[in-house]
């Protein structure tokens, strides 16, 4: 692969340096995990748009850039973090340029049996659950970014809820990336383990301090034990210089109920992989997301929902709002395995295009190997309806507010699927602020046809 070899030496150099000093290098299982992953990355290189999974997203800008790994992390103070703190969180882990910073993290008082710390610390402590879970779920064969992340897997969040333990307040994982002399890459690796009947909410929050070219390539393995109820939030609000590739791999056991909520607001080139495997009977999975793009942002949502057991249901709802020259992608893949009878899978992607240059590619992909299943999918593309806009304005509401109303109404479909609480309030706040800035773009009059085009796939 031409694209991979461009900077392969640089990657090799970074990996060799990393491997020598990395935590857990002495542990054969971990060493093998990293080595194999790196070898796989070298074999495959970065994907190209010839690859069906990457048809609408070119990562050549990533492949071309000589990222370096392991530059010293910025030293931040508490006041630097103030804008990003989530009020009411049970614990907040702070990672600066990929490294866990204990001094900036807030732990609160967590019940015994709930562990919240960094992966690196757990590797050093030789926590037994690591070997059982780390790298067991993520597909490094198929995905070069997952391979790369695994090769450099060392720091990130470690969350473990023991059996029957629950927390109402969310665990906030804050990943701050800062500018460096040279383009920086970080590979946060998160391991979230929830035992039987536990209940938890986790927010992964990616932000930038200043601009600068950064590749944030994160991977999260989330294990939802039997009858657990888990909500996971992914918030991307980095600067427009950032490349953000994230993979959320969720392993659901019997009757586990998992909700994944994604809010893509920032980042220049963003790829959001959500990959649940419904591995036990009676599981339920909600995949809910909103992506709001502007400027030249590229926001790609790749869903891969795997029904591996009978009597499971999955619901995918993604709403996109695209302005400027933004390009959105929704790829909804549903795979129903042979034994996954009585699967009930639904997928809906709705999009609002606010400018003539904004673009959306939406693609359902159903692979069904069982014969007694219910699978539906649908996509719509539209504009802000002139009718609705005029209706609001005829009641005295000014144009910008009216547009904001309509954008919010569109976004509220997603917000309403979140369980009321601290995390939802956080999400609502972020969305509202962001939509206000989008609505403000509309001060200049622009033609809008009386009837927006509507497509149904």
């Amino acid at each position: 692969m031409i694209t991979a070899t461009e900077n392969l030496e640089k990657y090799l150099e970074s990996f060799t340096a990393f491997a020598k000093r990395s935590s857990g290098h002495g542990r054969p299982w971990l060493r093998k995990l990293r080595d194999d992953a790196f070898a796989r990355f070298c074999e495959t290189g970065f994907p190209t748009t010839h690859d069906e999974d990457w048809r609408f997203t070119s990562v050549s800008a990533i492949a071309r850039t000589a990222f370096s790994f392991g530059q010293p992390a910025a030293r931040l103070s508490n006041s630097d973090l103030k804008p990003w703190r989530v009020e009411g969180a049970a614990a907040q882990l702070v990672f600066v340029d990929g490294e866990f910073v204990r001094g900036l993290s807030i732990f609160g008082t967590l019940p015994a049996g709930i562990a919240v710390s960094s992966l690196k610390e757990e590797i050093e402590k030789r926590t037994p659950s690591l070997e059982a879970h780390l790298g067991r779920y993520l597909n490094t064969q198929r995905d070069a970014f997952c391979a790369l992340n695994t090769a450099f897997a060392e720091d990130g969040a470690f969350v473990h809820f023991g059996r029957g333990l629950s927390l109402d307040a969310p665990i906030h994982l804050l990943f701050v990336s800062t500018a460096a002399d040279a383009p920086r890459m970080i590979h946060p690796r998160n391991l979230l383990i929830f035992e039987q009947e536990s209940e938890a909410t986790v927010i992964e929050d990616y932000v930038s301090l200043g601009g600068g070219t950064v590749l944030c390539n994160s991977a999260t393995e989330l294990i939802a034990g039997p009858s657990s109820t888990i909500a996971h939030y992914m918030v991307e609000r980095e600067s427009l210089d950032a490349f953000n590739i994230s993979t959320l791999r969720m392993q659901q056991e019997r009757s586990a109920n998992v909700a994944s909520h994604s809010l893509l607001l920032g980042g220049g080139l963003v790829r959001n992989n959500v990959h649940p495997v419904l591995g036990g009977e009676g599981g339920e999975c909600l995949i809910n997301g909103i992506f709001v793009g502007d400027d030249h942002q590229h926001l790609d949502n790749y869903m891969h929902v795997e029904h591996a057991s009978p009597h499971c249901s999955s619901r995918q709802f993604y709403n996109g709002i695209l302005d400027g020259h933004a390009h959105g992608v929704f790829h909804g893949r549903i795979v129903v395995h042979k034994d996954a009878q009585k699967t009930d899978a639904k997928q809906t992607n709705r999009n609002l295009l606010l400018s003539d240059d904004a673009q959306i590619d939406t693609k359902p992909q159903l692979e069904i190997y069982a014969d007694d299943v219910k699978c539906t999918h649908g996509a719509t593309i539209g504009q802000i309806e002139e009718n609705a806009l005029f209706y609001l304005r005829s009641r005295g509401i000014d144009e910008i507010s009216a547009r904001k109303f309509l954008l919010q109404a569109f976004a509220s479909e997603c917000l309403e699927r979140m369980k009321p609480g601290v995390a939802r309030t956080h999400a609502e706040h972020l969305i509202h602020e962001h939509l206000l800035s989008i609505a403000n773009h509309f001060s200049a009059p622009r033609p809008s046809p009386a009837t927006g085009p509507r497509q149904r796939a």
Binding site: F390, S394, G396, L406, S412, E413
Partner: protein, 258 residues
């Protein structure tokens, strides 16, 4: 000073001239009805007055309270006191009725330099108007017009009007699609709004509505012009004879179209 003064109003939509010289004066306290056959420009007039951008004013003048209405945006016209009850009220999923209406009321109050109304003060007023229009309180928290029946949508328009208290209420075919019970309720709501400070412009195809809303003046619109004006008896005449004769008459007297 008259509340609304329309002089030689011409308006086009997508290049087609629909209004071809309308003259109409409405004083506070009066109820005027605009009647006419399909395509005569009734709804266009209503939309132009509420400042829909799709309709372009190409000539003439509209003064509202002495101000140039044509120069106003829809929200400005609304804040000045123009209200349009839509022929086809729009469904807006995701925005609650009560929240929407309070936002509208507050936008107008802000425009007039008045304090905003909070939810605690707003709800009793809203409930009272719901009662007047015999509407279910459950509608408050539902999205604007979403899943409403035709009658509920029309009642919701009148309810908004009752809360926003406009100076000029334009009812665009508010009677269309209503059964007699719904029509009675809508008329009750409209009649409750009559006052010496407020004028109404009732746009309708049929005379039926005027049995319930007493009108002072009737104007017949044919091909973008008012061809005849009179008292309520004109509406009865139209009901009896239809529009054919008046259209024929208009064709004879109208100047050749340009």
């Amino acid at each position: 000073m008259s509340l609304l003064k329309i002089k030689n109003l011409h308006a086009t939509v997508a290049g087609h001239e629909i209004l071809k010289g309308i003259d109409l004066t409405i004083n506070a306290g009066e109820v005027h009805s605009i009647m006419g056959p399909n395509g005569s420009g009734k709804s266009t007039l209503a939309q132009v007055l509420s400042r829909r951008a799709t309709y372009e004013v190409t000539a003439g003048e509209v003064l509202f309270k002495g101000k140039d209405l044509v120069a106003m945006k829809p929200e400005e016209a609304a804040c000045e006191g123009v209200f349009l009850a839509f022929q086809y009220p729009v469904e807006i999923p995701g925005i609650g009725n009560a929240y929407f209406l309070r936002s509208a009321l507050n936008a107008m109050r802000k425009y007039r330099g008045e304090d905003e109304v909070d939810a605690m003060d707003f709800l009793p007023m809203y409930r009272e108007k719901l009662k007047l229009l015999e509407m279910d309180e459950k509608l408050m928290s539902r999205s604007v017009n979403e899943g409403f029946s035709g009658g509920e949508k029309k009642r919701n328009e009148i309810l908004q009007m009752a809360v926003l208290e406009p100076k000029l209420a334009i009812l665009d075919e508010t009677d269309s699609g209503l059964d007699i019970d719904a029509l009675r309720i809508v008329a009750k709501g409209v009649n409750a709004m009559r006052s010496p400070e407020r004028a109404m412009l009732v746009v309708t195809h049929y005379q039926r509505l005027l049995n319930y809303i007493a009108t002072d003046f009737v104007h017949v619109l044919v091909d973008g012009r008012i061809v005849r004006s009179g008292g309520p008896e004109l509406a009865l005449e139209l009901e009896e004879k239809g529009y054919g004769w008046i259209e024929a008459e208009a064709r004879q007297t109208a100047p050749a179209s340009v």
